[in-house]
């Protein structure tokens, strides 16, 4: 690969990956004055608007089925890693993932966190959850959901 074939530089990629970094801050301030939808309502609506069934999302997110359905039904907020799994389940882009994390009241993906950067990169490039896990594993970073590869 030659330099000429490059579409963008690494700086531009960083900027592109975390363009919506401040959206999280905005949402956090927003939520002080207005109520955020609950995580379960949000993902239920997301399913409807995308014409998908929860089963499909839960399967792609590699979440245990009964736990996944409980999250759709409401109750406690899931952990940050589970929310990231849902991002893969819905095939969200970085921006949409940041929003989903805010809805679940977790910190957004952040460029100062190496693991977050890898995840953002993978979401940006529409990699699957398994592909992302492989990247994390190869770079000695904790896997999403804390599980082991294979």
């Amino acid at each position: 690969m030659t330099d000429k074939s490059r579409a963008i530089t690494t700086e531009e990629l960083w900027a592109r990956l975390f363009a919506a970094k401040n959206a999280g801050n905005f949402m956090a301030e927003y939520s002080e004055n207005y109520e955020l939808p609950s995580f379960s309502d949000y993902i239920t609506d997301l399913c409807k608007s995308r014409g998908e069934k929860p089963e499909q999302v839960i399967r792609r997110a590699n979440i245990e089925s009964s736990y996944g359905h409980r999250l759709f039904a409401g109750g406690r907020n899931p952990s940050r890693d589970t929310v990231i799994q849902f991002a893969y389940g819905f095939e969200l882009d970085v921006n949409e993932t940041q929003q989903l994390l805010v809805i679940a009241r977790h910190a957004g993906l952040h460029p100062k966190i190496k693991r977050d950067s890898v995840i953002a990169y993978c979401l940006h490039n529409k990699f699957t959850l398994m592909e992302t896990q492989q990247f994390l594993y190869d770079n000695s970073l904790p896997l999403i959901g804390g599980g082991r590869l294979g």
């Binding site: 690494t10 977790h106 952040h110 100062k112 966190i113 890898v118 993978c122």
Partner: protein, 487 residues
Amino acid sequence: MDSVYRESQINDVGLEELLASYDESAYPEVFLEKYFLTECLAERNGTDTFAAVDASGSKYIAKCYDRSLWDMEEGSILRNLQGAGLPRFVESFSNERMLVNVREYIEGVSLDVYAAENDLSRENITEICMKLCDILSGLHHRTEPVIHRDIKPQNVIISSDDDGTILNVTLIDFDIARKYKSGSDTDTRFFGTQAYAAPEQYGFSQTDARADIYSFGVLLRYLLTGSTRKNDKITVYKPLAAVIDKCTAFSPDDRYSDIDQVKKALSQANPQAQKRRALKLTACCVLALMLVSFAGFRIYKAVTWTPFNDDAIPAFTSDEERVSDAVSYMNEKYDTDLFGGTQQTLDGTEGADSVATIGLLKTVLIDVYGLDADYVNAPNTDIPNESEDFFFPWTWADDQTIGRGTMVYVAVKVHDPAIVADWSSLKDDNGEYPGERVALEFAEETGIMTGANRPDDITVGEMALILANAERVFDAAAEAEAKRVVN
């Protein structure tokens, strides 16, 4: 495995390259060797807050201060602050660019999130705030007092069990806490969070513990109303509204001078505590009445009454003797014939046995108790009059009859509106008006209903009895209080 290393269709920068451009040289090396950063929780004013794990998987919070922006000693304030309600300081690292403080991770959610997710009752809020008072008291009463200066729900962590029972309240974020040095004139920089910061934190004068008391008041208001700003449209339970107002007075001199006073005020404003106070009041009444009768004063016959038990008189029939005594007592005392007797009452009915109406009750409030006519006569609309401008939170036509609960509410409110401060016009889960329920509880404890047994459509005589009983209770309490002051 190699199959996943496909180049993206969107850009040509590979992940390896991306990671190679990842720069963490600013952080102390030893820190990065020991801790792995998992989340960036906040990023502001040259301070990054990270969640981190060590090799054993234990979770910590690491605060990284940019040394070009922050001038602080290593370990800073938190190192010297150990105690209940404060996070445990673990260790600190530094290099020429950055200072890193590692502290224990507190399992739980911040108070703003907790409040949004749980329907907090007044008791819950009071409980949380009293715990916060204890933490602040520990800080303010050190030999060298520490002022937190950024008290807000986001800096209070609530740890609860699965049932939602609160286990612990922890105050975090000591970034801008400073030790109070008497003699320095003003703080040179603005610190704090705008909505919660006391006016003097904008540079009017040196801040002391009362700046925390101000922010505490805003926090209490936020929990009760959902807003950091005063909103007259939202009714706050009056005793707590008084605490908020005093905490958030513009001038520090007008605030509570010590957080312990705030805690005391909160415990007194707590409905549970109010119940205990009502019991104390009853005890005072009994004592005062005994003293008075022994002293031989001619006082109202009610003093010597003993309560009837339920078997003695039919449940819904009032005690005739007490009613007639009350009627003559009230008519004599106020030089009126509103309470029946031999003459016709103003609303056209005859005698103490006739059924009382709202119209008569309003006349009594204005003529006997001297209340303002505009205050008593709410406009006759379909909507509730939930405002301090009107005596009745509900609207009735003048010819409507009166229930005993309403009468008790009026009898209590006319003497001490604070007791029935929660006078929402919405009925609660038991189908009762909150204000009326509070009044009835108070009346049962103090004997205001003694002898008045008819639940609905009460007579003019029963109206007089309830009012007379209430006078007896409140007069005795006032007398007991006067004696206490003298002694």
